[in-house]
Symmetry: C2
Subunit: 345 residues, 2 copies
Amino acid sequence: MALLGTLGTPGDIASDVAEILLAADRRGIASHGTARLPNYVALVEAGVMEPAARPTLERERAALARFDARNGWGHHACRVAVDWAVDRAASAGSAVAVVRNSNHYGIAGWYALRAAAAGMIGLSFTNSSPLVAPTRALRPLIGTNPIALAAPAGRWGAFCLDMATSTIPRGRIEVAARRGETLPVGWAIGPDGRPATTPDDALAGALLPLGGLEETAGYKGYGLGLGVDILTGVLAGATFGPNIIGLFSTEAPSDLGQAFMVIDPAALDEAGAFESRLEGYLDQLTSAQTVPDAPGRVLVPGEPEAAAEARSDERGIAIDARHHGSLVELGERRGVPFPDVEQTA
Amino acid sequence: MALLGTLGTPGDIASDVAEILLAADRRGIASHGTARLPNYVALVEAGVMEPAARPTLERERAALARFDARNGWGHHACRVAVDWAVDRAASAGSAVAVVRNSNHYGIAGWYALRAAAAGMIGLSFTNSSPLVAPTRALRPLIGTNPIALAAPAGRWGAFCLDMATSTIPRGRIEVAARRGETLPVGWAIGPDGRPATTPDDALAGALLPLGGLEETAGYKGYGLGLGVDILTGVLAGATFGPNIIGLFSTEAPSDLGQAFMVIDPAALDEAGAFESRLEGYLDQLTSAQTVPDAPGRVLVPGEPEAAAEARSDERGIAIDARHHGSLVELGERRGVPFPDVEQTA
């Protein structure tokens, strides 16, 4: 937060950014957390992101609003937008908020969980830089455009699906490259358009949409990713698809779009009835008989991330040496020393 | 419609049912069209579906409603529900309607397209009988729970994603059985929990969620299918997951749940601006360079179905001999002769 202060970001905005980046780290999604701080800072230093901008509410109906993030921190603009939707859903029963002229907002799930913490169903969407080849296309034309859906689930805490609409995120290919792995068919295509078998081939080509190739219904993942772009970039009037610049490119503002949908189950039922039904459903699924080679019981979406969060809150957040080094270097450069941490590896 | 009259279904309800079943046939989705009429009639004849029931609006806020379909035709109750959501979205900007105590509603896309025809973005969801094994589970515990998203797209007519959250529908396995095909990994598991290689093995086992096995991110399709059930069965207070009885089983009422979300882009923009942006986006995607072995250009979701619809409207709907025979037999049994049709096969 002190570091964001050196950029001119007011404290309340910095607080949102810090909370959401740390949520990614706590939930074990390091690729979307503080490891990205150097990228965000580079955008501000290059003058293509406004560190102090506050979102404005441009259009408003009882259950629909459009915010202009004014090229500021996506995390803050989207926290404001989802809170608007939660507030409106409490009276109207449901509400939708979209954001344009925005930047990366971190993990999609945080905003959906914000609604779940208010006892509501939350959906969160963003578009992103083109990394995925639509079915039959040679080049990446759409983003990994995630979908998050969270809901309060009693003893299970919250159900939280938070998924890219590609088979795997680009970061998973980078991990495979470091490990020298070959890739399963369905993850990516190479620059020649054939299924990529090596990480290098995939990194030079494009990710495949969820479902993989056409014969395994990759067109569904393509449709989902495009659907997310319709709800975000196209609806909000932001940039979309192949027109979005590269991830954390400093050549121009990103002009991303986000969307949030919130539904209040308490408008339909006595308090707690929805959570209780969902809790019972998750009990049924997690106690089901498994396939012979299953590595464990059936999981609830979001369960691995919630477990990582509980571990982090108990033992602290584990970050790798490269991530640590980049934050120390960033702190030194901005004159805000990175706090001492326990070395575990 | 005369046939539905013999069941005691009033004319306006029968008209909705006929329109939605014929829309499936016209769009080339025979599995969800008039071929199912004998199944629906069997439910009425067995006394487990109410052919004359009218839905009631049970709870209502400005942008959220719950309807009780009173165990009547799902098509009619859901047409009423989506029309309520379109009407409310026109004033509130967005609205959600859920339906409980319902029956099968045909193709999910029809309801989304109903909103698109009103110039709005429509989302349509239903839960269904358990056919899909969640990741790691041995048995089918959730339905193929479809997601449909439609939006007006200028010269492209409408964007219409209409997809089961399983890799493929069960009907595709039945087609493979008739053709004597083997199955790709990712479609289904056999009763032993291993990937099914033959249609018989798959039909005795379970479909896999979109994404297939765990290594190709099948847990995302599982999360999507479960998310649909949360928005429909769990939110509406209908049955869900493993508690839903078999497809067209006459043992008891189905008590399915459906949900519709509608957003009015005209609340955010001048009229036509949204459609124009989406049209331009689809122009970009469909003119993109393709992979070397592509069977054609990049498609817009819903394009094959829209093409089938145009062909049907020009040349009539083609149904196969078994489908034709079942309707003739049904007509004879109910005393309403099936109209003469041109034999083409």
